[in-house]
Point group: none
Chain length 215, copies 4
DNA sequence: TATGAATGAGAGTTCATTCAT
DNA sequence: TATGAATGAACTCTCATTCAT
C-alpha cells in the first residue's frame, strides 16, 4: 500500500529508496556513501538532497517504512486468525518468515542499521521496534495464560523465536535448498517446540498458506 | 591464555586491540575511525600503524583471535564431555552462552563485522567461521543419528539454535534481569526443546555449571 | 588552441592545471602536495578531485597535453618547411627552442616528472615521448641519407642535440642575457655544427623567425 | 680517496649512503622515504639517524661527496694533460663521460635533486656546482683565446656540451649498444665539433685513454 | 652501534553537504 | 525535477623524527 501513489508520481524518490535499501543492506550505513546510492539509482549525487534532507533521513525513512509495512500487515493477519493464541502464532510466524524473505534487504537495514540513527531519529524508529516486539510477545503471553504454551521462560523464549526468525535475511538465498513455504513450515514448527505447545493440538491443522506476502 | 605474554611485552598492541574491539563493537567497522580507536587506547593515531599494517588487518586480527579463543575452548569442552551427544550439546550450549556474554564485544565484531573484510581477508576468517559452525552441527547430527534428537529438520534446527545463542551479545547487559548462569539454563533448555530431545533423559541431570568462562 | 573552449567553460579545471604545472615544475611531483596546488589555483583542496580522479591523473593530463601541443605544432612545422632536411631541421630546432622557452614549466614537468607516473600511465605518456623523439630522429637520418649531415654518429648526435635543447627550461630566465630569438640562432647553429652539416649551405639562408610559438 | 677509512670503519654508514644514492636516484628525493632507504640498506629505520642528523643531511652528504670526487679527479686530470686547451678538453670530456657512467646514480642525484636542498644546504652544494662548471668553462674560454675553438658563442656552447654530457646518466645502460670507451669517443667528437675546433688538429692525436675512472 | 616504540604533522583521498542554475 | 560545481571536515595512511634502551 505504502508508496503506491508516491512511486507513480515520484519515480526518482522511489529509485533512491530502492538504491539506498540495497546499498545500506550490502555495505552497511557507514560503509555506503551517498555516491554509491546515487550511482545505484542512476541519478546524480545531488538528487538525494532533493528528496531527502540528509543521509540520516534517508535511513530513517527506509527503516520506518519497512517497520510500517511489517506492522500494518501483522496487525491485519492477527485479526484474521481467530482468538486461539496457537493459530495466531502460527499465522504470525508464517508472516514473519515470508516478510523477512520478501523484504530481505529492508529487513537487514532495519535489523542492523537502526542503531546508526542519531538519538533523535533513533527514538522515532525505536517506537516501532517496540511495537513490533510487543506484537509477538502479546501473542505468546496470551498463549501461556491460556495454557497452550507451557515454556517455563516465556520472555526469553519470545526473544529466541524472534532471533531465529530475524536471522533469515542474513543467510537466505533465492537459489537455496528450501522454498519460502518450506521455511514457513520449519520455523513455525521450531517456534511451537520451543514454546512447548501442548502436544495433541500443537500443530496447526490447516496446510501452509503459501500466499504472497502481504505488504 | 592467549595474549598473555603479548600483553606483558607489548602493552601498546594489546591496548589497541582492546580499544578496537570496543570501538568496532559500538560503532561498527566503518563507523569507527582510527582516531576513535587510538583515543580509546590512549595512544596516538599513528601507533595503530606501528602494530598493524592497516585498519583491515586490525579487524582481521580481532576476528581471528576471537574465533581461535572460541574454537580452542570449544574443542576442549567437547573432549571433556563424554560420548553422549546430549551431554556434549549441553556443555557446548552452556559454553557458547558463557562465551558470548564474557566476550560480548568481540562476539559482536565477529558476528556483524566479518563481512566488512576485503575478499582476501574474508577468506581467512571464513575458514574459522565454517569450523565453528561445523562444531555444533557435528554434535547435533550425531545426536540425531544416536536417536537422542528427534527433530525432523536437523540442519535448520542447528541454524536456529546458533541464531538465538548469537543474539545474546546484541541485548545482554550486566545489569540485566538474568545472570549468566540463568541464561545458560534457559538456552540449553530451549536448544533441547527445539531439537526435540527424547523426554525422559532430555534434561541434563546435573546442575548448571556456573564456572568461569574457559578462554 | 588546445583548451580554449575548456578554459572558457571550465575555468576551475584550467586553473588547477595551470597551478599543477607551476607547482610540479618548481617542487617536483612528489614534493608538491595537493594542498599546494589547490592553494596556487585559489580553489579548495577537494576541487582537484572534482576534476581529476587522482594526483597521478592530473600529472598524466599535464604531460600528455604538453606532448600533444608539442607534437601537433611540430608536425605542422615540418610540413611547411619543404623537403630539404636542412630547412626542416632548422625549422624544427627553432620551434623546439621556442616551445621549451614558452612552455618552460610544462616542459620541466614533462622532462623530469614523467618517470613518476605509475606503470600503467607511464605507458600512455611513453608513446608520445617516443613519437616526439622519432620526429627529430627522422629528420636527421634523412639529412644523413641525403648527404647533408656528415656526422659519423647520427644516433648519438640526435640525442646530444635533443639534450641541449631540453636543458633550456632548466636554466632559462626571462630576465636573462639572451632573447628567445638569439637562443634560436645559437641552438640551430650548434645543431648544424654538431651534425656536421656541409659547409657552403650549412646555415639556413633566411633570417631567424622570431614569431610567436605555435601551439 | 673519499670514504676509504670511513668505509672500513663504519660499514653501516657506507651502506646507508649507497642505499640513499640508489633510492634517491630511482625515486627522487621526495619520493624516497627514510624507510625505503633503511630497507635497501638492510638496517633499521632509526639507523639513519645515528649516522645523519636528517634526511636533508644525507642528501647533502651524497651530493657533496659526489661533487668532491668529481672535482678532485677533474683537477688532477687537467694538470696531467698539458697546456693546450684542446688536449685538456679532450681529457676532461673523456673523464666526464667516464664519471657520469661509473657514478650514474650519484650523478643523477647530484643533477636532479640538488634543488631539493633547503636554502642553507643548497648554498653549500651550489659552491661545488659552480666550481664544477667553471672548470670546463675555463678550459673552453682558454681554447677560444688561444684560437683553437672558433665558436662564436662560447658561453652557450659550454652549456650545450655540459648538457649532453650530463644527459648520460639519464639513459645509459650497461647492456646498451655502446661501450663507455665508444661513448668517450663520440662525446669528445661532438664537443670538438660544437666548439668548432680548428680542422687540421681538431681531433686529439693520441688514442683513447681507456683507463679506469679516477675516483 | 644500533633498534623498537611512539608520535605530530601532513600526505592523498573521500565524505556528506550546499547552492546557483 | 534535477544537476554541476564546489567545499570543509574527516578519512586512512605515511612521513620524518625522537628517545629510551
Amino acid at each position: 500500500m505504502a508508496g503506491t501513489s508516491e512511486t507513480r508520481t515520484r519515480p526518482g524518490r522511489a529509485a533512491l529508496l530502492t538504491a539506498a535499501r540495497r546499498t545500506f543492506s550490502s555495505k552497511g550505513y557507514d560503509g555506503a556513501s551517498i555516491r554509491d546510492i546515487a550511482q545505484e539509482a542512476g541519478l546524480s549525487l545531488s538528487a538525494l538532497y532533493y528528496y531527502f534532507p540528509s543521509k540520516q533521513d534517508a535511513l530513517l525513512e527506509l527503516i520506518c517504512s519497512t517497520f510500517d509495512d511489517f506492522l500494518g500487515s501483522a496487525h491485519a493477519i492477527l485479526q484474521e486468525s481467530g482468538e486461539d493464541a496457537r493459530s495466531q502464532l502460527d499465522a504470525l510466524i508464517r508472516f514473519i518468515v515470508r516478510f523477512r524473505i520478501a523484504n530481505r534487504e529492508g529487513s537487514r537495514v532495519l535489523l542492523r542499521e537502526t542503531e546508526r540513527l542519531d538519538p533523535e531519529r533513533l527514538e522515532i524508529a525505536r517506537a516501532r521496534q517496540i511495537a513490533s516486539n510487543e506484537l509477538i510477545k502479546g501473542v505468546v503471553l496470551r498463549g501461556v495464560e491460556q495454557g497452550h504454551f507451557r515454556t517455563p521462560y516465556p520472555e526469553e523464549a519470545v526473544r529466541a523465536v524472534v532471533s531465529f526468525c530475524n536471522s533469515l535475511p542474513l543467510w537466505y538465498r533465492e537459489d537455496g535448498r528450501l522454498s519460502p513455504a518450506q521455511l514457513e513450515e520449519r520455523y513455525t514448527h521450531f517456534a511451537f517446540r520451543l514454546l512447548e505447545a501442548e502436544p495433541e493440538t500443537s500443530c496447526r491443522p490447516g496446510a501452509a498458506s503459501p500466499g504472497a506476502v502481504r505488504t
